[in-house]
């Protein structure tokens, strides 16, 4: 049997197995909903056993099919198994092309295309940022409005649903922005490649100037840490304004608010510093080992200090007290 036929057999079997798995998952979920719809105290051992009679056969068939898939792999092995591969970031490709790009030798029309694409991406980023902030603002206000804070499950879930929808809206905005950005990057890459093929190319790749190197080394990181801290403070200020507007008093929970605000600031600064800031842009072997060592020592010291403080202020006892009791909410009771 040829490899092509074997691959086709595996593909067909895989599709059938996928359909079976999804069908079994849906049947399990539907069975659970049907049991729930029985009214008060719907989940009993007898009722679960009754519904299990209907779903057990598809489940057993599914298990058999999974075992069959592995047997098939042994009996008809695929010689070359390609791993699932994704795409390289187009921004890296663009950066490489720009190092060889000579703008002075480029045709005006192409140059204009390249500039328009960059402007387009800037506008897309700005609009998506504004929309995301709006979604965040709406969901935060909704969370703190007293009318939406209920004491029963349904109201809580509706509140959550609204918050999740707001967040999903923000995610959709980001997704749309990334799609537009991808299209724009592709157009710019094509234009650049065309320009380079038409002679707008430097003989050797461009070296970074002193100023560019300094900015890449320190300026970007510091600017981003500053921006992160400012946005963390802004978020906390916004939350506190909303709290005041909705009639909550901070004074009753001052310690908690101060601590959580400080933690939010530190966390956001850490996020920016570690991911977007100083460390992320610099490849590891170019870091000064002393700086890395200092940061590690600081964080280790902070961690051990916090643990010790937690032991003495009762935090460790609180963790134990919760851990030795069944969290009924975590397992769906209550």
């Amino acid at each position: 049997m040829t490899q092509e036929k074997i691959k086709r057999i595996h593909l067909i079997y895989g599709i059938v197995l996928s359909v079976l798995l999804v069908a079994v998952a849906i049947s399990l979920i539907v069975a659970c909903f049907l049991i729930y719809n029985h009214g008060d105290s719907p989940f009993t051992r007898e009722r679960i056993a009754e519904y299990w009679q209907y779903v057990c056969i598809p489940v057993y068939v599914c298990i058999a099919a999974i075992i069959g898939a592995f047997v098939l792999r042994i009996a008809l092995p695929i010689k070359e198994e390609k791993t699932v591969k994704g795409e390289i970031d187009p921004k890296l490709t663009l950066a490489r092309l720009y190092r060889r790009f000579d703008a002075s030798a480029c045709r005006p029309a192409l140059l204009e295309t390249i500039r328009k694409q960059r402007l387009f991406r800037t506008v897309v980023k700005a609009v998506s940022a504004v929309l995301c902030v709006a979604c965040f603002a709406v969901s935060t206000v909704f969370l703190f409005l007293p009318n939406h804070i209920g004491t029963d499950m349904t109201t809580d879930l509706l509140t959550l649903l609204f918050v999740v929808c707001s967040v999903m809206d923000a995610m959709l905005v980001c997704f749309a922005a990334s799609m537009l950005e991808k299209m724009s990057l592709r157009a710019e890459t094509q234009a650049l490649k065309l320009a380079l093929s038409q002679g707008a190319s430097l003989p050797t790749p461009r070296e970074e100037s002193e100023q560019e190197r300094a900015w890449a080394k320190w300026g970007k990181g510091v600017a981003k840490v500053f921006a992160a801290t400012a946005s963390a403070l802004g978020a906390i200020l916004f939350i506190m304004i909303v709290m005041f507007a909705c009639g909550y008093t901070v004074s009753d929970h001052l310690v908690g608010v101060i601590f959580l605000s400080a933690y939010a600031v530190v966390l956001m600064a850490l996020v920016y510093a570690l991911y977007f800031g100083i460390f992320a842009d610099r490849p590891e072997n170019q870091w000064k080992p002393r700086v890395l060592l200092l940061v590690r020592i600081l964080i280790l010291a902070l961690a051990l200090t916090f643990i010790l403080l937690g032991v003495f202020n009762g935090g460790m006892r609180d963790v134990l007290q919760k851990a030795i009791r069944i969290c009924s909410e975590c397992i769906g009771i209550g």
Binding site: L11, Y13, G14, L17, S18, L21, A25, Y36, S41, P42, F43, R45, I66, R73, I74, K85, G86, E87, I88, L143, T151, M153, V167, M171, F175, S178, M179, D252, V255, G256, L260, Y275, E284, N285, L292, I299, L300, L302, A303, T305, F306, I307, L309, G310, G315, D318, V319, L320, K322, A323, I324, R325, I326, C327, E329, C330, I331, G332, I333, G334
Partner: protein
Amino acid sequence: MKVIQWFKSHKPTKRRLVQLYAALLFNANLKGFGNGRIYRGNVKNLCTPGLNCYSCPGASGACPLGALQNAVSSGDKTIPYYIFGIILLYGFLFGRWICGFLCPFGLIQDLLHKIPTPKIKKGRMTRVLSYFKYVVLAVFCFIIPMLYLFRNLPLPGFCKYICPAGTFEGALGLLSNKVNESSLASLGFLFTWKFMLMVSFLVGAIFIYRIFCRFLCPLGALYSLFNKISMFGIKLERSKCIDCGECITTCKMDIKHVGDHECIGCGECISVCPTKAITFKGSKPMLAPNEIDAPTPEEAERIADEHNARILKRNKIVKICASVVMIAVLATALIYYNFIDKAPEPQKPNVTVSDDPDLPPAGNEVGTLCYGLELPKLNRESDTFSDTFRLEDTKGKITVLNFWYTSCTPCVNEMPHFAEIAEHYADDVVVIACHADMASKSQVVDYVEENWSSYQITYTYDSEDAYYTLLGGNYSWPMTLILDENNVIVAKYMGSVTYADLQKDVESILHK
């Protein structure tokens, strides 16, 4: 022969063995699956590094995410230094290497992904979706618990509404045991929702690599912040890198470059790097650079240099010692949790038992006579637990006995129902609320005075949860018992109750 060949080419990798080891170590309380009880020893002070619900019968440590949310939601009482310190320490040491090697739920997803079906590839969309876990972290682990903090209701938002590990390990692990059958009656919409999520994630993991870790896990989101500085993980030798991109295209996570915030340190990129520029951090004591497995005999023969041979010999000794230590730790843990450690059982309290032949024998099940309780009672004038409550004093009235504690949200949510029953049936019903040994008496007094000073409920304090255990509690609060005029148990609820449930039972006793 084909089977043997297949097994040889698909034998477990070292990473898989470490994952299995970690899963077994963090769920070493195997007897919990048999007796349907969670481990209650002091070792649960310590948090496991990965996502492992502490309501799982086998769990040997606390879950860091659950502990974090509980800490945030009670942040105005105790500043949660401990859990923040633990997360900082794990992040500093391991970063997201925990996800790749130590997380039991990650292992489950890895194994499910092995099922041979068509897979959904990573792309731009999955890269964008991978940032959603930071939103989940912010909203469900901080904002929601903080919101409920201001309402004096501790609520672990992620654990309650999303966590599939809680449903899979905790719910299914506990509720499948006959001992916990009474808890089935308390399941409702929340369980249905969480069951649906759990099934979706588990089936999704078959088609999408680590669907939960990539898009939803807040613990992974927290640890990702430390990836750059962690002691363990993946590092890239920039001087050797030729930007071919093989590592990025081979990696199943949504990385932009090796070792970034999405990297779980699995090491699959190491074998595909053409210039051997990628290594594990901290690998020098254990491995020669880029050595994942021991060199083959042919490669070992080629190594003629005496210095390298000495290093290899040293590395081999280190590996053997490390393996022996790991096996010893696991064996000790299994023996300790399952045979040696007796979780602290509360002292049996003094109980009075009626010798009336017309009444059923004493017990803690429906139809038996309730044990005679004697508990410290809250004196409303002096605001102390200076009085004593005796169950025999309530004879002649219907007694509603509720076990609760302040940081239990379902307990606190249902208290108004008890107050309503006590008010509507003031002549026939007395409600006793017994607080668990979870907070000090003064904290309980402050809580009651602040929130429920007008309720006609008698508040008592159950030291060491003695009476709760005596009456058949399985360490899941709340628990409610309804006793008739002779203190015979008529109904027993493990979990929340509604006003309708209470009214139905009270009416049935009154009209008997």
